[in-house]
Amino acid sequence: MIFLQLFYEFFKTGLFAVGGGLATFPFLSNMADKTGWFTHSQLMDMIAVSESTPGPLGVNTATYVGFVTAGVPGAVTATIGLVTPSIIIILVIAGFLKAFRNNRYVDSAFQCLRPTSTGLIAASGLSVAASAFFRTDAGESLSLSALKPEAVILAAILLAVTRFIPQTKKLHPIVWIGFSALVGVIFTFGGVPMS
């Protein structure tokens, strides 16, 4: 039963996530809320691992969510679910490629879909950020006293090196994921003593 549900959820994601890269992320965040298969902090860990390993980001995160939910068969089911709509859609439009590319309706629909997809990613980003910046994972009782100052400082440093310093701006995200892991361990970001 879980496999049918996984397939359905990822089929939906593959059908409606437009734009590649993080486009599937709002759907996964919504999936976490709705099904309880995984938490927001798990989702962030999965994105970090997916970004640091070979393979397209969308496929990697689908595989990971599937694995966390139902092991290797779950990973296969989720991934097949994600790519099935792509296969169907591409095989259908392959017949009239040029017409599709130059179609006014398709073009206009995508004019509206791009900002929509960006808005969805921004909103999901904000909603998962709670688990990175606040001590509680519940998300309900977010108060200023629960804010982790060390996380805010790390975020400010990362923002500077990925956006403003020309020498480090072009580095692959893996570098910063590794750096953050190190900082997290040294300053016990998880609140667990290292001994």
Binding site: L15, G55, F67, L154, V183
Partner: protein, 184 residues
């Protein structure tokens, strides 16, 4: 036939392994493997597939693989090429995920991922800024961005609904502009 299909599978498995993150990063890899080594498509065709892969739902790498596989060996080819491109992800992520979950109770892992989550927030923020530059180019784009971002944050509406409504709006706009243009 079987030999051609296995060649498709392994070539795209290779493309999958060499794709880090996806999107534009994979275009040079496709160019080398598909255009220069295998001659399955021309540069122009590849650019076309890639452009259409971006404006159809789904993962761009998968869409492009389906296109090239389909052109090469028909429907089966499209399916086989797609299975090839996702194969490395399935193997690598399953192994890593199993590994990570058996160590997830260690303080080292807990603290490392707590740090990593901060980094993921920044990566998402940077991705949004980058997308914003190409997506929000006019007032309509800005309004859509704000309505969707606020709507999905405050009301927990499924992203599916927003996507369907945005596509419909785009289609209706053509109708509207068409009438306006012919009315003048």
């Amino acid at each position: 036939m079987l030999k051609a299909l296995s060649e498709l599978f392994w070539t795209f498995a290779k493309v999958g392994v060499m794709t880090f993150g996806g999107g534009y990063a994979m275009l040079p890899i496709l160019q080398r493997e598909v255009v220069e080594n295998k001659h399955w498509a021309t540069d122009e065709e590849l650019t076309d597939y890639f452009a259409i892969g971006q404006c159809t739902p789904g993962v761009i790498a998968v869409n492009t693989a389906t296109f090239i596989g389909q052109k090469n060996q028909g429907i089966i080819g499209g399916i086989v090429a797609t299975l090839g491109v996702v194969f490395p992800s399935l193997v690598i992520i399953s192994i890593l995920a199993g590994f990570i979950s058996s160590f997830s109770h260690l303080p080292l892992v807990i603290n490392a991922f707590a740090g990593i989550r901060v980094c993921v927030c920044i990566l998402i923020f940077n991705a949004v800024v980058k997308l914003w530059k190409s997506a929000v180019t006019n007032r309509l784009g800005l309004v859509l961005f704000l309505v969707v971002a606020l709507g999905s944050m405050l009301f927990h509406i499924s992203p599916v609904l927003f996507v369907i409504l945005a596509a419909l709006l785009g289609i209706l706009l053509v109708q509207f502009q068409g009438k306006e243009a012919s009315g003048k």
